[in-house]
């Protein structure tokens, strides 16, 4: 365009003026990179199909385009190279090697750094942070090595396409594809048709007919029969969804039939299924049509992106709404009006529904976190030269987004330790008769109102003697004779204890497990470890579903109200006189059906004046903390309530046994007991 360019024609953008565009770009690039990374990692896992590489290509292409607009030459340049590499891969011109996967991952890391640098620049421009803030500084990054790395691979594409270590790209078909290939070989494991025949799903006649046509492609047969047109077939071929799947979904063949058949037959299932008479030509046509519908339906699941700040505000407001509602209900109890109480219960119900909805908005799956961990395990195992199989399960489990944000660091620490210290070298493993490849699993699941995240390795396990010796050396324990194995293992969470022979750059330097424990406790969670020497270790993290609300039993001690989280409560009872006694070295104990539990008098612990000091005239609540069960002596039970947790602020953070406050139904403040902390405070008190 040689015509006179007006000012501002080159579309240079100003961060301040076009902040909306820049912020959008940052979030878009973030999403693209996350998605690409997990896609690349999935290539590594197993045979990949064309669509996965295509998706990565599109993401990187999109970054390149947008970066070009915004004049971000580094990001544009690097994504351009990566795109070129992916383009060749998706066209099948080069095969995916470990080298390509590695360079793609590091290029994505570099792009991420470039993005983060831009984010900092934008924040500075928008005045969100000051340029002098050292924690938020741009990290200069040189993209040249990555560009060179990719170029050298691109220039070296004369390599033979098939070598041992390559990951196969299934270039046009998914592994469970239903379209027979011309060169389809008779499978030794039995044809699908025979399987279906055995099961009585189809008749011999139907099978024979299918076998007659066996050498043709289904598309050709259908066209020959005049049932459909080449266009229709082409459309079908361009679909990614296997026809068999759609037939199964439409109920023409059943999912178990299909699965079973696929399992027995191996990966290749021919057109015999489709043409075997188990389905008709009509069904295929309508299946083809339904592909179209499904495609557009998929697009209708629309989402809206919301600023998390707004979400937090909404959540706080709903918390206030719940409290206000509780207050009104409390005040109106005395008013005996049928209409009012009916309306009130309606209001309560709606409030509860709103609360549930808002809660669910804050729930996010662990998927992204787990994906990050799979990258971490991959990197750590590569760096330490160990072969580690990483198994993930339960990544669909949902947690409060605030918990998700905080849980990544502890997981990183534990996983690093498992790979670096837990898993032995391949030689050691073989010598011990273990498979040379170590295994680490990360799983998440619900258990009793909690989310449990478990990290399990099959490494050498924790060395009990060593831990104990170190703990004694550091003066962390004095009397080891009374400690159980589990108590000893859990000493690794004590400050200043690291069991590594030497400090490596991977697993840190002794600032580890105690920080892990602190972080998890901050989330009102618990972590512990079990281990068996030579067999492996298991770390178990228990987390609350949400940080914001708990179900609790309100109890009264003197004039003070406490809330005990319902999940911690085993039972409550009024003991008999003969069930209470004092044991040496233990203090007061209560005998509950033969089990001796120590009795914590809350009024003594927190110095409250009360008239109810005789256990058999008061109530004992049996709770379970990290250290086991014990009884809490309280004046009376006041009722059950869901409360919104309020932080007590820094001033009270050192009060042991109290995890927060909450506004109760009568508008007064109740203190939330942390049963593990109460027990610790009690032990310290005595």
């Amino acid at each position: 365009m040689s015509e006179t360019n007006t000012v501002n024609n080159d579309l240079t953008l100003d961060i301040k003026e076009d902040s909306e565009i820049f912020l959008e770009f940052l979030s878009e690039v973030h999403d693209h990179l996350e998605e690409s990374e997990s896609n690349i990692l999935s290539i590594e896992d197993e045979n990949c199909d064309y669509e996965v590489i295509n998706a990565i290509f599109r993401s990187i292409h999109s970054i390149k385009g947008s970066a070009g607009f915004l004049g971000l030459t580094d990001m544009q340049g690097l994504s351009h190279e990566l795109e070129a590499l992916l383009d060749k891969a998706r066209k099948g011109e080069i095969s995916i090697t470990q080298e390509i996967i590695d360079i793609s991952l590091s290029a994505i890391d570099a792009l991420r750094k470039l993005r983060d640098n831009l984010a900092i620049r934008v924040d500075i421009e928008l005045g969100k942070i000051t340029g002098t803030d050292t924690s938020q500084k741009e990290q200069p990054i040189d993209i040249q090595p990555f560009v060179d790395g990719i170029t050298s691979i691109l220039n070296d594409d004369s390599k033979p396409r098939e070598t041992e270590s390559q990951v196969n790209i299934n270039n046009s078909e998914q592994t469970d594809d239903f379209w027979a290939k011309d060169d389809a070989e008779p499978s030794k494991e039995g044809f699908l048709g025979e399987i279906l025949l055995d099961e009585g799903t189809i008749t011999q006649e139907q099978l024979d007919k299918a076998l007659e046509d066996g050498n043709k492609k289904i598309g050709e047969i259908l066209v020959d029969d005049g049932i459909t047109t080449p266009d229709m077939i082409e459309m079908a071929l361009s679909e990614q969804k296997p026809i068999g799947k759609i037939l199964a979904e439409k109920g023409i063949i059943t999912e178990p039939q299909l699965d079973n058949a696929l399992k027995q037959q191996g990966k290749k299932v021919g057109e015999r299924l489709i043409d075997s008479g188990a389905t008709t030509a009509d069904s295929i046509d309508s299946a083809l049509q339904s592909q179209q519908t499904q495609r557009s339906m998929k697009l209708q699941a629309r989402t809206v992106k919301v600023d998390t700040g707004k979400l937090d505000n909404l959540f706080d407001l709903v918390g206030e709404l719940v409290i206000a509602n509780t207050l009104i209900c409390g005040e109106m109890k005395s008013v005996n009006n049928n209409g009012t109480s009916k309306n009130l219960s309606q209001l309560t119900k709606i409030t509860k529904d709103i609360q549930d909805q808002v809660m669910s908005m804050r729930m996010v799956t662990l998927k992204q976190t787990f994906q990050k961990m799979s990258r971490l395990v991959r990197d750590v195992s590569q760096r330490s030269g160990k072969k580690v199989k990483f198994i993930i399960s339960g990544e669909e489990t949902e947690l409060d987004k605030n918990v998700i944000e905080e849980i990544a660091d502890p997981l990183v620490h534990i996983l690093r330790n498992s790979v670096d210290h837990g898993i032995e070298s391949a030689e050691d493993r073989i010598a011990k008769g273990k498979p040379h490849e170590g295994s680490v699993s990360l799983s998440a699941f619900h258990r009793g109102g909690n989310i449990v995240i478990e990290i399990k390795d099959d490494g050498k396990g924790l060395q009990k003697e060593r831990i104990l010796q170190k703990a004694i050396d550091k003066g962390l324990v004095s009397n080891q004779s009374s400690m159980t194995d589990n108590q000893i293992y859990n000493l690794i969470f004590a400050p200043g204890l690291s069991t590594a022979d030497k400090v490596t750059n991977i697993s840190g330097r002794g600032v580890g497990m105690d920080v892990v424990k602190k972080n998890i406790e901050k989330l009102r969670g618990k972590v512990d470890v079990t281990s068996q020497e030579g067999v492996g270790s298991t770390f178990t993290i228990r987390l609350p579903l949400t940080l914001a609300i708990i179900d609790g039993i309100v109890v009264n001690v003197g004039g003070t109200k406490y809330i005990i989280p319902t999940v911690s409560i085993e039972e409550s009872l009024q003991p008999k006189q003969e069930e209470i006694s004092t044991v040496k070295n233990q203090g007061e104990v209560i005998n509950i059906r033969g089990n001796l539990l120590s009795l914590v008098r809350l009024h003594k612990l927190y110095n409250i004046k009360t008239t109810k000091t005789i256990p058999w005239e008061s109530i004992v609540v049996v709770v379970e903390g990290a250290e086991g069960k014990y009884g809490v002596l309280v004046d009376e039970l006041l009722g059950q309530q869901q409360v919104v947790i309020k932080s007590l602020g820094d001033r009270f953070k050192n009060v042991k046994g109290i995890s927060g406050g909450a506004i109760l139904g009568d508008g007064k403040v109740g203190l939330i007991l942390d049963v593990t902390g109460v027990r610790e405070a009690f032990v310290g008190h005595n």
């Binding site: 365009m1 015509e3 360019n5 007006t6 501002n8 024609n9 080159d10 579309l11 953008l13 076009d18 909306e20 565009i21 959008e24 770009f25 878009e28 998706a55 599109r58 292409h61 999109s62 390149k64 385009g65 947008s66 070009g68 607009f69 915004l70 495609r295 557009s296 697009l299």
Partner: protein, 125 residues
């Protein structure tokens, strides 16, 4: 005001094009993020002109151009493409696209191309 439908999977690009078009006599009636979406939005909004990206998930810009032309033979579609997608551009033109703009985009170029395409076909049907 001429009605425009912007088709691009990158929201940054959509924002930019919007920014440019607002300086001309255009009314952005809709945005689509892929080829399927593009056809639906075209049917819904009946725009005077469409700006179309090529590389998009689900259904790409070339197929979307074919689909839209099949629905409305007079549809006016301008392809927006990268410099390295000339081959694809040719396919798009064969599919019925009226014109194209190659990146890096310039404001004047976008506005003049769109105006030209809209006016060219006034006598058409």
């Amino acid at each position: 005001m001429k009605k425009v439908l912007i088709v691009d999977d990158a929201s940054v690009v959509r924002l930019l094009i919007k920014k440019v078009l607002k300086q001309g006599d255009f009314d952005i009636v809709g945005e689509a993020v892929n080829g399927v979406d593009a056809l639906e939005k075209y049917k819904e909004f009946k725009p005077d002109i469409v700006t179309m990206d090529i590389t998009m998930p689900e259904v790409d810009g070339i197929q979307a151009t074919k689909d839209i032309i099949a629905f409305d033979a007079d549809a006016k579609i301008v392809m927006l493409s990268g410099i390295d997608q000339k081959e694809m551009l040719w396919q798009a033109i064969k599919a019925g696209a009226a014109s194209y703009i190659v990146k890096p985009f310039e404001k004047d170029r976008i506005l003049s191309t769109l105006n030209e395409v809209i006016n060219s076909n006034n006598s058409g049907s």
